[in-house]
Symmetry: C2
Subunit: 357 residues, 2 copies
């Protein structure tokens, strides 16, 4: 926090024109270069032209909608899907081809055929917290190439990796097969919200230059530019290594909270829900063992018991999934997480009793 | 600049949760209260519920589009109109009822009949720099009440008042006739971009609570929230009186630049263009004396002569006005403004010679 405070002061004092004036629509050139350098590999060759700075990751989702969707367009979306993305695209009333990327019979090629883009969160998705395996990542890329469908790789949680080895990104896998200046179908979205601070509202898109140019035009009509002050702070946080230095502490904090939540779940929810312990991210997805348990009702009963959960219906474009819940473990300390789970167990039992009555 | 740097440092150090975390979608409560207090009068009673914080004034324009426009909706718009507003609303391909508020035969009632909202910049409009008189402001309010049309009062330039006395705002005029908690048809838009710093991307909407609630929902799908860091800096700049303290210097600087531009125009453009010296704002609007002068062509000829102007066509939804130009006087020092006008006179004469050939 002290370092960020100093970076904020320094940004205004040493770079007043950049921090306080209008920025280029597509972002400060030095920050675009920094993001390009951060993600480039010998195969994935990136330059400034591959990078757009956005006002948080959320704006990137909105710009995708502006760029690709007309009324009634189709989106192929990993299911369940991030609530915020569904919100961003709601104005054009899209149709969805759902892709359950964990299902054995999932056919991305069929889902992407006729879709404007495919939306995926391969690392620790919101809401499920699950990883999409490398084989499925390759299948998605192949489907994008075969169908001509853009493939969105939204990656806000990739750095929150607690166990094991990170899997290769789809944009990286594509570049391995097509090395050179990047022109591919994968549109990669990143943000500092999870690794630095959401209050800076700073994200980025890495994509083919034609996509960056078109999204820049869409951004002009949205907010003209992203705050120069926030851009300058992020540039200095990245180039000074602040983001790397704080990462071990962030990971240790969140790992301990995940463990505390999952331990409390084992103690209190084992007979009520099924779940997997996530190897990263911010969420545990738990499915009720009793198919008659309606998690929309559990939300209300939970609030009566002093605990708040996200019901699965809000992550379904059609609002039909009523049997699971999303639990966040990064916001609260272990003892509060444990108390929340105790209350959730009570609320669930109380609702099941009502059902039985 | 030193004060702003200190405010930025202080925001992170003293208010880390507000500055670095997610803010409420509608803005920090203390900032909403501050804006309400700043604009309230005994008749215009404002509370937090009347205020939405936006990511710059531009986002407010985009949210109006999201809220009120469907494909082919009609907007009653002051003509010529702010380019950025036309950009913000382009995705829904609106039809426009043009209102030339300086024309004797202007009929706002007819223009607003059937329109989703009316868009006006009563103080020193972009692009014309002109004031809408008090009588016409009252006519616009009466038309809004008679037609049920929302009346947008976009006011980024109101504080840049160099001569004479500011005119009453439309939201204030409405409240004089309807004192009490504000529930009226005027939607007032403000920003710190002109009085403090555009790099903070901080604006606000003051409107009836039902409008604020609906725009808040639209903002959620756009960028989730405005940067807490920027909000905290603006809150402290307003409450510490920084904005008031720097105002005299800003006005003196811009007044001198306006005078320098208009003096150079008198010296070099008197036989080529007609214009009025604006009493505020950032722009002079000049109409060519020769109706055959195409200012789209003048843009290109000007660039060849090393000067850039905004041609009138970009401020017309149909791109039909080709006979005027917008000149900005706030960005450059007097000697650069004078040199620009010399080059513009050369470019104009060269183009007129081409026309005659």
């Amino acid at each position: 926090m002290a370092e960020l405070a100093a970076l904020a002061e320094n940004a205004v004092r040493e770079h007043p024109a950049e921090a306080l004036g209008y920025s280029p629509i597509d972002g400060l050139p030095a920050l675009r270069d920094q993001i390009a350098a951060r993600f480039a590999t010998p195969e994935l060759q990136l330059s400034r032209e591959n990078v757009l700075i956005t006002t948080g990751g959320m704006q990137a989702l909105e710009l995708l909608g502006k760029l690709f969707l007309e009324a009634g367009s189709t989106i192929a979306a990993q299911s369940p899907a991030y609530l915020g993305a569904l919100d961003a695209w709601r104005p054009s009333h899209p149709r969805y081809h759902a892709m359950d990327l964990a299902a054995a019979d999932c056919d991305p090629h069929r889902a992407m055929d006729g879709a404007r883009f495919a939306y995926t969160v391969p690392n620790f998705s919101n809401p499920t917290g699950k990883l999409v395996g490398t084989a499925m990542r390759k299948t998605l890329i192949a489907a994008a190439e075969a169908t001509g469908c853009w493939l969105v790789e939204d990656d806000p949680y990739g750095m929150l990796h607690y166990d094991g080895t990170p899997l290769p990104s789809m944009i990286g896998l594509y570049a391995k097969a097509h090395p050179g200046p990047y022109r591919g179908p994968v549109i990669y979205l990143g943000t500092v919200s999870k690794e630095l601070a959401p209050g800076l509202r700073l994200g980025w898109v890495i994509a083919a230059p034609e996509v960056i140019t078109a999204m820049t035009t869409a951004k002009q009509g949205g907010d003209l530019c992203t705050s120069g002050l926030c851009q300058r702070i992020v540039l200095d946080a990245l180039s000074s290594g602040l983001t790397e230095r704080i990462r071990p502490a962030t990971l240790a904090l969140y790992r301990a909270r995940r463990d505390a939540l999952c331990r409390a779940m084992s103690d209190h929810l084992g007979d009520l829900f099924d779940w997997e312990v996530p190897v990263g991210g911010m969420f545990v997805w738990a499915t009720a063992k009793d198919p008659a348990l309606d998690t929309d009702r559990l939300l209300r009963t939970g609030l009566d018991h002093g605990v708040c959960i996200s019901p699965s219906s809000v992550f379904d474009p059609e609002g039909r999934n009523h049997n699971a819940i999303r639990l966040n473990f990064t916001l609260n300390p272990p003892e509060k997480l444990a108390e929340g789970i105790r209350r959730l167990a009570e609320a669930t039992r109380s609702l099941l009793l009502e059902n039985a009555a």
